[in-house]
């Protein structure tokens, strides 16, 4: 079991990681951030991606799929962004957000590692 800081540090050890954050999508605020660059403000990313997560959840609800998001992948020209809502009993309303450099990362491995981090995260 890992706490928040350990989980974010672990997320940053994933190959190609640029930044990671744990975000509350009821408010858009971050519970913790790691990495990032002077140009990339992870709190801005968190607030913006909160709207992405909410939109997708609403769509699933409207389609009456009776399912939930396991993870979301957004592919940019130079980056991958992975969003992973927390499923644990304490993780309700939270998601993990990971930014990866496309050139330096292994997407399948990163996705697997992020799942492990999410499963072990205890708040």
């Amino acid at each position: 079991m890992a706490n928040l800081d350990t989980a974010l540090k672990d997320a940053m050890t994933i190959d190609g990681a640029i930044g990671a954050a744990l975000v509350d999508y009821t408010s858009g605020m971050t519970l913790g951030v790691a990495g990032g660059t002077p140009e990339i403000d992870l709190t801005v990313a968190a607030a913006g991606n909160t709207d992405v997560v909410r939109a997708k959840m609403r769509t699933i609800e409207m389609l009456k799929l009776n399912d939930e998001i396991e993870d979301m992948l957004i592919t940019l020209g130079g980056q991958y962004h992975i969003i992973r809502p927390l499923n644990g009993p304490n993780g309700k309303g939270l998601f993990l957000y990971l930014m990866l450099s496309k050139a330096r990362s292994n997407l399948a491995l990163a996705r697997h590692q992020l799942r492990t981090i999410e499963e072990q995260l205890e708040l």
Binding site: S27, G28, M29, T30, T43, V44, A46, A47, G48, T50, D51, R54
Partner: protein, 156 residues
Amino acid sequence: MSSGDTLLPRRTAKQPDLPPPVRLPPSLAGDPSLPYPAIGTELHELRLQIPGVQGSVLGGVDGLLITHDVPDTLDPDDLAAMAAATFGLGRQVSLRLGQGEFRQSTVRNQAGYFSVYAVGSHALLSVVGADAINVARLHLHAPPVAERLAKLLEPA
């Protein structure tokens, strides 16, 4: 001796090192020289840009309304007054803690938010938001709006 006769020691509040009272300029409310259309655009844009914003009010720190962009269901004069009350509390807290100028205060209720942002040192921007509002986005978006409003309020 009945318990009602017991005299409890009176406790007087500690006097903080208060700065000398500020001399405030005349109220901004009702000033015909303000650029109302530009201010109105800023408030309107805020509502358009952030889903969940129900309305916003620009008021003076004296609690008087300057202008607003709220639906009929909300009373802008009340909101301007409540913003000033919030500001008063924030200023007292800041004086005691020595944390400088009031910047922002948010009240979260069961069904929504009420946020107050400092606009320069003499005005306040208050925003009423639904419970579903992305409050982090509001906190990122509103301070630059407040900064632009402060510029608009500066005497030409």
